[in-house]
């Protein structure tokens, strides 16, 4: 049976979420009340019979390692396969590779030891809940060299500007990969190719002093390689800025989006923590909100997302905001269009207000 191994390549992702990525890599930014961004792609992989996943960790990966642990929460702590976090720790004096190719060069072992013939590569910014089995079958059926997961959005959004757009012929062979701004299928960052081809491309890129596997190995070889686009129509979003982060969190307050992302297939897996059910007290007033466990609510919460173990005191109001785990909102506080990172305390009667386009972001562990 043909199988895939997984690679989550964070080596070329930038710290795009301002205060939220001061202390952590983008992939481990909390999302949707209980997850980290990486959970989506990681869960998709483990649900697609991928038993070994490597993560090229760029920088600020302490929180990522804490989150992933042994991989047990994704069923990756197994004798066969497993989770391999590969940080940029290398000291090969003969190494001439650059950019994300350095990760490949210094971790050849991972690919050589793996038994799978195919590699599925993904970033962490494409948020969806799916399995890649159909895409894999499609890749085999079309006898493609490379298959890209693409999706279309009815309205182009600001976050799609930096995404690679895909032009294809009627048989979905890719004819052009570019950054044109007109609306067309968007490349999700998820692609699939044989391990053999991957390693050939890596070696070739390194030999020619290139810096980016996808741009220099695949886009530059569009003529030579047979590249298919696999069009995906499920619920998805691209998170690559504070503005898109905020907007796509808030989108999940709509029951239809919530159902599509979380209940259309498998559970999204994440690190579990031991929290009691959320306690709504007598004076609590909550509407249109997404609430994790372990919260204690005495105040008013509207159109907001609370992560676990958040306390909202009596007389406090939280509106259009994202409040991450272990935050304390004291009496009389008013929050509107605010993102509080973990462990923030907002003391009595303070008011914080941002706008929908530019939410007011507070970095973690602050007291205001």
């Amino acid at each position: 049976m043909k199988t895939m191994m997984g690679l989550i390549n964070l080596g070329q992702e930038h710290d795009y979420l301002n205060e939220l990525t001061y202390f952590r890599t983008g992939a481990s930014v909390p999302f949707a009340g209980r997850y980290r961004l990486i959970d989506f792609t990681l869960s998709n992989m483990t649900r697609s019979n991928i038993y070994e996943v490597a993560i090229f960790a760029g920088n600020k990966y302490r929180s990522l390692m804490d989150h992933l642990g042994t991989g047990a929460d994704w069923d990756l702590d197994k004798r066969h396969g497993g989770l391999f976090i590969l940080p940029p720790d290398w000291n090969d004096p003969t190494d001439i590779s650059k950019g994300d190719l350095r990760y490949f060069h210094n971790n050849f072992d991972y690919f050589e030891r793996g038994k799978s013939e195919y590699v599925l590569i993904s970033g962490s910014q494409f948020i969806t809940s799916t399995v890649y089995d159909d895409m894999f079958q499609f890749h085999l059926d079309r006898d493609a060299d490379v298959t890209l997961l693409t999706t279309s959005y009815p309205d182009p959004l600001p976050e799609h500007r930096s995404c690679i757009k895909v032009k294809m012929d009627e048989k979905s062979w890719v004819t052009c990969l570019c950054n044109e701004q007109e609306n067309q299928p968007v490349f999700s960052g998820v692609y699939l190719l044989s391990k053999q081809l991957l390693l050939e491309l890596v070696k070739e890129c390194i030999a020619h002093h290139k810096e980016n596997l996808f741009k220099d190995g695949i886009m530059a070889n569009l003529e030579r390689l047979k590249i298919q686009a696999y069009q995906y129509d499920g619920y998805s979003s691209v998170v690559n800025s504070i503005e898109s982060y905020y907007r796509h969190n808030m989108a999940l307050l709509e029951a239809s989006s919530y159902q599509e992302l979380f209940f259309s297939g498998n559970n999204v897996l994440t690190k579990v923590n031991n929290q009691p059910p959320t306690n709504y007290h007598d004076t609590a007033k909550v509407s249109k909100s997404l609430i994790a466990t372990g919260c204690e609510i005495d105040g008013e919460v509207t159109n907001s997302i609370l992560f676990h173990n958040v306390k909202v005191a009596q007389g406090a109001t939280v509106k259009n905001s994202i409040i991450m785990q272990h935050c304390q909102i004291e009496e009389g506080v008013h929050l509107e269009n605010v993102i509080l990172d973990k462990n923030v305390t907002v003391t009595k009667n303070q008011a914080l207000k941002g706008t929908k386009e530019q939410p007011f972001v507070v970095a973690k562990r602050r007291t205001i």
Partner: protein, 389 residues
Amino acid sequence: MKKECVTMLLAGGVGKRLGLLTKNLAKPAVPFGGKYRIIDFTLSNCLNSRMFPVGVLTQYSPLKLHQHIGVGKPWDLDRMHDGLTILSPFTETHGGNWYEGTADAITKNINYIDNYDPEYVLVISGDHIYHMDYNQMLSHHKKSGADVTISVLEVPWKETSRFGILNTTDDLRIYEFEEKPIHAKSNLASMGVYIFNWKVLKEYLLEDASLENSDHDFGENILPAMLANNRRMYAYRFKGYWKDVGTIESYWEAHMDLFDQDLAQLLRNKEWPVYSHNSLLPPQLIEDGAIVRESLINNGCVIKGTVEQSVLFEGVTVGKGTRVSKSIIHPGAKIGENVELERVIVQENVTIPAGTTIVVGMDKEPVVLSNENINQFKQLFAGKKIKLA
């Protein structure tokens, strides 16, 4: 491997008085508190007081219980040599049989205990809701030089007739047991938590096993026999919340206790956490127009209606125009639109059709709703509202 103390957790009881709740489920596996199963409190006590190894004795309807306990991972009991072992009845070369009583269950597992060559054996049961440091009790047991220590709780005098009462001298030495006495001489009730000197217990177990007309029960046989032989038996005072959720009424009450500010600590005591399996579902969605107060709600719930003084386990949906009050809703239950529920317990994955009204008065026992009886209710009262008051 030698261990000072081995814990034996009795989890095989039928829990008859819980009716439908234990129809296909061992009592320790009955859901509790919006996330837990009853046995989680005892297993968490084991972890928090660092008592291992733990042998869990199961027998009645054990499937869910076994799946829940697994290798004991949520309670850190997946240890190399002295973790958790599930001890179910078994056969041997010369027959084998069911556990015929609490004492018999231990007798049949003497080999398990002897493996650890312990000084003491702690016997507890998986039926109670409480936080207790067994290690403190063990220290007390060692200090007092007792053969047996029994943990006791002071109960209100008017309730003594519901409990097994221990009569003690001033220094808490036990001289008499009274099962559910009408005129009690003491208000110290046994909590079903015992520490024995293993050598002594083993002797009594083996002797009891040879008696044909014995029920092989700790309370009925073993302890009275020890008392008759003038063994050193002491009571150990426990202070705190302890509840035997033995009936549907007390099961419901224990849930309503969770809204008491002081007792809320039962689930959120950082010094003494209660562990369980954690839900894989997304955070709960409270929709526009929903009203939620004085309630405990777990992951994956989607609330469109009103929820008051209720406990909702994971994945419960509450439709528009619906009011759920003073109720306990087990995982995955779907409550349709314009439903009114008061003082009911809805079982796992039960669907309550739109328009149903079931309101149970405070003087009646809370009603347990299952997929079968909800259909009967529907046929019996087609189109009419059900009011049990």
